[in-house]
Structure formats: structure tokens, C-alpha cells
Symmetry: C5
Subunit: 96 residues, 5 copies
Amino acid sequence: MIFGKVIGTVVSTQIDEGIRGRKCLLVQVCNHQGKVSNNYLVAIDLVSAGIGEMALISQGSSARQTEITDKKPVDCVIVGIVDLVEEKNKIIYRKQ
Amino acid sequence: MIFGKVIGTVVSTQIDEGIRGRKCLLVQVCNHQGKVSNNYLVAIDLVSAGIGEMALISQGSSARQTEITDKKPVDCVIVGIVDLVEEKNKIIYRKQ
Amino acid sequence: MIFGKVIGTVVSTQIDEGIRGRKCLLVQVCNHQGKVSNNYLVAIDLVSAGIGEMALISQGSSARQTEITDKKPVDCVIVGIVDLVEEKNKIIYRKQ
Amino acid sequence: MIFGKVIGTVVSTQIDEGIRGRKCLLVQVCNHQGKVSNNYLVAIDLVSAGIGEMALISQGSSARQTEITDKKPVDCVIVGIVDLVEEKNKIIYRKQ
Amino acid sequence: MIFGKVIGTVVSTQIDEGIRGRKCLLVQVCNHQGKVSNNYLVAIDLVSAGIGEMALISQGSSARQTEITDKKPVDCVIVGIVDLVEEKNKIIYRKQ
């Protein structure tokens, strides 16, 4: 999985029926410290992620291994909200 | 999913029979604001996308999770047309 | 799918039996105008592609969704030959 | 597979139930000599990896080919701990 | 598939049981002429590849389409040894 910051919402009405009605979140890929990159993804939310939170992103066929996304044309989901990242016994990220 | 701008059409007559007759659109990968990159993809259209529209692109095996692309050698589809992108309570992209 | 120019052939006798005897083409990844990059791939040919032609390349598990590649350790195939690419009502590539 | 250095732990309580309770390790992608890059991944641990160890990372659907990750939305696992890397008859990495 | 030069061996005793005992080769990704890059992979050997040889590398789920790797957490295999690469009627690589 990679890290991504939830920064917004994407609205699409003309969308494949398998995804219609699902919450599409705008995610900015970031590193383990929450430092954002210039890479943006659209992910289906599985865990009620909030704006500003750091999320764990699962991609590819693994993104379909949930009840919500099973057999849907989805290649990116938010599988978790990061509470804390610890590196070499130091806490380098903590959810606020 | 990633963002892509629909900018044209690709015609291929000598093509795998599983894809023959499907609309192949030329897509330029872009960011959440519609700013295009130098990365181009060819995607099967699932949602009657129009030239100039910003699309949601699904890739890999997820591109085959639709009636049209099931069991076809397709690794890139347009699953939705973006109406609106909202970042931190500001609308940063709106379909015209 | 991505674009690639067919530029040669790869010969391998010591090869997995699932692929043995299949035509392995050397492909140089290119953009929608046929401008080549420094990225090279080896693709199984499904459509009798010729040297110099611009091809549509399908990758990953999608490369196995054909009779020839089904259940074979192949992650890259040529699914079509590009006849024409049209961008914003201009023809920007035409097969010669 | 690629090489990655295990450098920490990621805690997430609001997480997909398929992954809940699994050890999420922070991995910094590295080369065959253990030289780290700026690329960070979160991997499920299958082999009781320790901090500072160099690991073998498997990604994509292959990350789900284990009892622990089967049918889970996981796209990155640690499948092995590297004891030794040998290049052209020289040992260039050895676990300490 | 991509090209890779076989340059060494990786030893791992603390490894997923599905892979245990399999030969893990160190591969340096290269181009069609054998010019190496700074990208390193660990691949399971299917064809008795030797040090210094140029190999064809298959990745992702395609890496599991063999008897040896079926249902194993393996995302990279050597499927062939390159004997010869021919570009525009010139031989640009030949196995020695």
C-alpha cells in the first residue's frame, strides 16, 4: 500500500453503473511523513475517510477484494486511515 | 483511478477480435485540475465520453470488470466523466 | 493501452514452454504521434504486426485474455495496428 | 520482487476488516546493496521481519497468494528476509 | 516482457514457504542492447539462466502462470534467455 492525503471529492454522474453512488475521494500521494507529491489519484472510500487525513491506498486487483468493490471497474481504494507512523522508535506522523 | 483528458480517437482495423468495433479514445493523462501531462493512453469508452471532457480512467484487470470488456485484452477504460472536482471546499474543476 | 513502434525481433530458444514458438517482437514505446521514447518492451504478436508499424500494446493480466496467451507467463501483447490517430479533428498519425 | 528496508510500523485502527490486526510495516524501497530510495511502501509482514532488515517485497495480486492475505485488499507483502546478496562472485550485502 | 541482465543470486532462509527452495536471481533491468539501468529486481528462475545472460522478465500475475509459481506470492520470473535481438535488420545483441 502507499500513503495518500485525502484532499477533496470528485463528482461524476455519467459513470459506470458498478461505481455509481460510491464516494470518490481525491487523494494526493504522500510519503510516510505526510509530505505530498504531485501525483493525484481518485479512490473509492471504504473507511469513511475525512478531508486532511492520511490514508492507506491499495491499488490494482487488490482494490476489488471488498464487498463494495467486488467485480467493479475500480483500481484504487482507501483501505485505512493512518493513526500513527513510527520510524526507528520515533513517531514521525500522528493523526490530529 | 487517474484523471485523463479525452483528446481524440484511435482507428485500428487490424485488431484483436475481442476489441474490434469498440470505440478507442485517445486520452492525455492530467491532474485533478485538468492540467495535462506528456503521458498518452488509449482507452475503451464505457460512458460515451466526448472530446475535451475530463475522464476517470481505470487500469489493469479492473478495466475488464464490465460487460463490454469482460475477458478482453483491454487494460484501460473510461469509467466516468468528471463533473466537478472539489479540493478543500473550493471547486477547482467544473465540466463546461 | 499504450502506443509502441515495432522495431525488431527477439529470439529465445531457452524459453518457457508456454511461450515457445510464439513471435516475440521488439517494441519501442512511443507517444500518439509515433515519437519514440527510451523504453523498450518485448510483446507477443497477436495481429501479424510489421516492422515500422505503430501498435496498441496491452499489458498485465489483460495480455492473457486471448486464445494464444491464455494461462501463459506473458505480460505484454500487441492487440492492434494503428491506422490513424486523430486529435481535435486533425489527423496526427496515419499508417503509411 | 523488489528490495525494501524495514524501517518502522504503521498503525491504523479505522481499517478494512480484512486487514485489521495484521502487522503493517513501513518499508523504504532500496537497491540490491541496501541503498535506500525516497520511495515508501506499507507492507503486510508474512515472515516476522525486524526493523533494519532488508526484505523481499511482492506486489500486486501476487501479494494475495498467501493464507494471511488471500482475498484481502492487500497489494504489498514482505515474502522474505534477505540473508545475502551475491553479485559476480562478490558478496555485496550480508544480514548483520 | 522487459529485458534484464542476470548478475547474481539472492539468499533468503526466512522466506514464505511457497517460494522456499526456489532459485532467486538478482536481475538488473537493461534495454534491448543489454545496456543496464539502475533498476534491480529479484526473479524466480524458470529456465536455468546463467550469470551474465540477458533474460526476458515477466511481471505481475503473469509471473504465476507456470507450474513452479502457480498460486505463489511471486511477481517476477525469468521466462526466457535472449539469444539474439534484431533491430531493423541489424543484429544488435547476440548471446556469447
